[in-house]
Structure formats: structure tokens, C-alpha cells
Symmetry: C2
Subunit: 260 residues, 2 copies
Amino acid sequence: MKHISSRDNPAVKALARLAGTAGKRGAPVLLDGVHLCQAWLQHHGAPDQAIFDVERLSQPDIAALAAAVPDRDCLALDARLMQSLAAVESGQGVAFLVTPPAPQPPLNVDENCVLFDRIQDPGNVGTLLRTCAAAGVKRVFLATGTAAAWSPKVLRSGQGAHFALAIHEHVDLAALLPGLRVPLVATALDGARDLYAGSLPERCAWVFGHEGQGVAPALLAAASLKVRIPHDAAAVESLNVGAAAAICLFEQRRQALAAR
Amino acid sequence: MKHISSRDNPAVKALARLAGTAGKRGAPVLLDGVHLCQAWLQHHGAPDQAIFDVERLSQPDIAALAAAVPDRDCLALDARLMQSLAAVESGQGVAFLVTPPAPQPPLNVDENCVLFDRIQDPGNVGTLLRTCAAAGVKRVFLATGTAAAWSPKVLRSGQGAHFALAIHEHVDLAALLPGLRVPLVATALDGARDLYAGSLPERCAWVFGHEGQGVAPALLAAASLKVRIPHDAAAVESLNVGAAAAICLFEQRRQALAAR
């Protein structure tokens, strides 16, 4: 394995620049830490490049990762060089440079899925991906304007959910609607049915919206079902989008489990 | 109203130091933005001090806040001075210096409530407070080791929930248990009942735990009910603590609404 101790090495310079492009369409990203790298190997095979803290290579979990990547694609960095990379925060001594998967969106959607309508906060997007995967959802569509799914913060709060989901990014949600073969369901405060007032579709396309503005009016108008979570409106105006999604997706899951 | 344009003014220097003490027990905090200041006025009356961006004082919502605070406690700062304060991020032109309420914990607890067991992330703590308030919970206990409830990030993600809750901080949760007159309910992966397998207590003390370690073993052992959210464990190991709490608290609320 090539050992690098100079900050001026071109490979190190390229890695240092990565933090600035995180989430740009088609840009490579750095998966930080043992868990994400293991998940990548399991789902997608070898990364474009693997970088290691040279002092940690003897650690069993790190050694196992190094053994799974062709030697020509591995770099061993001095500890201080590894720590200097902005995209590497975990301090676990390993990171994979990968090109995020960009699965082809299906022409027709006939499965349970979730639409992210310009959700801004990376922590919210990551938590939402984790909740989707936990609820058994397999496919999500992220509108243009949503935080980049493969950015470091979203990866961190996703806790591996990225590998259980087909993630479609930069989606024009309005253009998706004609291909929907399941009902579109939105959360709304006005003109909505109580979430608990009746049964939910077994499969649908849930849409969750922007933290401040909620779901875009055009999508709300296209929804065949609008539901309202009966929260204590005297206490707070609304719920966090991640909390609202967890409540909706697991109410659907509760009903589905009860119907079995 | 006193107008300050110098960075060397002692009042400005004291405000600049605040970001460093945010969340320390008994320390004053700066509430940032129109919404939080309005909520403080409504629930607690005048703040210790109100600071304004001098250029925004004619704005109606800002003027209304200024009119509600005794003039001797108001400071008008030059815009650049206001922006330089680390604890002021919203750029809305108003902040209140307040001493957070420290309500006396009750000797016995006979109401629905939530225990925060060393939840680290300020965003999680704020979202959890917001979810608690939305679910109709009125009292929460934050263990020592939990992110400070009145810190800027927690206030921001709480979205006003702080004013709908009695928040007890720096609590020794083990010492709280003998005074509990409601069952202690914890989420757990092992030895737990399916959340949806039966009815939940109408009132209980929910405990939600540390992001990595979960609920402390001593609290788990003391729980009279342990519930498991039936998530897709093949997809992700677990749910975010805020999502898990939303699912549990609203399942309890669903059952309570259905029983009416």
C-alpha cells in the first residue's frame, strides 16, 4: 500500500478539496468511518479509493477493510494528514472515496415510497432516510432543493439507511406525478383528514415538505389524501418534519401489521 | 432607549461572552428572534434585558416588543454590533437576555411525562421537546449529561416548545424513580413487548436514551414496561431517538383519543 506523509501529494490535495464539492451531482464523496465503509463494500463492492490512517492499519476491523480493496486503490496516510481532511470527522482511521449510486427512476411507481419536497436541513434529511428504511420503504425521491443525500452530515444521520434505499436525487416531483400508480398522500393542517380517522392506503407515495413552508401548493393540490396529525396545537404550531414522517409512516406500518 | 455603537461598551462585551456560557446552570441566555421573544413575554413577562438592531426598531413586530419592555432595560445596537454577537444568528434584529425558568421538581409525579437520559445532540433534544409539547406532555426531566435545554441550538429546534413545558434540568433520574406514581416505560430492543401489541398506559413516564448507548441499564431494569417499535431491522439497526419518541408518544395519543 502506498504511504503518503506529505500534504503536497496530489492525491491528498484532491481529497482535501472534496469537502467543497460534497453533494454536487455526480461528484465523488468520502464515506467516513468503519460502519459506512463496511456497508459500501457489502452493497456496492470496492470503492474508487480507500484511505487509511497508517497507525490504525493493524486494527482488525480496519485491516479487514484494507484486505477487501485492491492494493492499488489503497492509500495509507500519516495520522495528522488524515485528520486534516475536512470530510473526515469520525477519527476512525478509514474513509472510502466512492461515486454515489444514481439509480434510474422507474417509469411507473407502484410501491410504497416517500417524496422529499425541498427539505433543507441535512440532519432532517438523514433522519428521514433512516425512518423510511426503518418503516420498510425501499424507494425515495428527493426534489431539487433538498439537502444532498450523500453529503457527510446526511450520511452521518442516515446511519446506514442509504444502503437500504433506492435514492433518486434532483427529481422534479411534478413530473413524477403522472407515473404514480399509488395515491399521493400529504400532511397538511387545513382541509385534511385526521391521520387516525380511517385506514391508510397499504401502498402510497408520501410527500413531506420544506421545514418552513411545508409541502408545495401544487403537490398538495395533487394529493388524493391529505392527513393531519392531531397534535396539541395550543402548545406548538407544528411538528418537526422528521417527527411527522415517523408518526405517519409507522401509523401506516401499524395498520399493515394489524391487517396481516 | 440607550444607543450603543462601540464594541468596547461593557454591556456589549458581556453579551459577546454569553455564547461561551450557554446552558451553564443558572446562566442567562439570549433568546434570538421575534418568535422566541414574543413567547417569553407572553409566558414570563419582561426579560432582564432586550437588545435591538437600531435600524429595525421601526418594524412593527420589533416596535411592539420594544414597547413591552421597560425602557431602562432596552439597548439599541448598531447593526454590525448586533450581527457580531455569536448567540444571535437569526438576523431578525431582536434578542432578549433572560434567566431560564428553573421550576421546582414535584415530589411525586402522577402525570404523563418524559425523561431524557443523556441525549447528546442539541437538535435531537430540541426536536424531542417539540414532539413532547405536540403530544400534550406538560413536564420533562433532563438527566445530567443531556444537552442544555436553553442553549441556542436547542431553542431553535424546539420552536417554542420550551414555553409549553415545565423543563427540569440536571436531574438525577434514579433519584426521581421513588416519587413516580405512574409506570416507567422504556423503549428497548431486547425483552420488550411490541409497541402495537396491546394498550399503553394512559399516563406514564417515558424514558428515551442516549443516541449510541440507549437507555441506561439501571433505568431499563426499573421500567415496568419495555416496548419495541417493530421496524425493518434488516434495513437499519434502529431509529433516531427523536423519531422513536414521536412514534411512541403519538401511539399513546392515538389510543387515548380513540378511548374518548
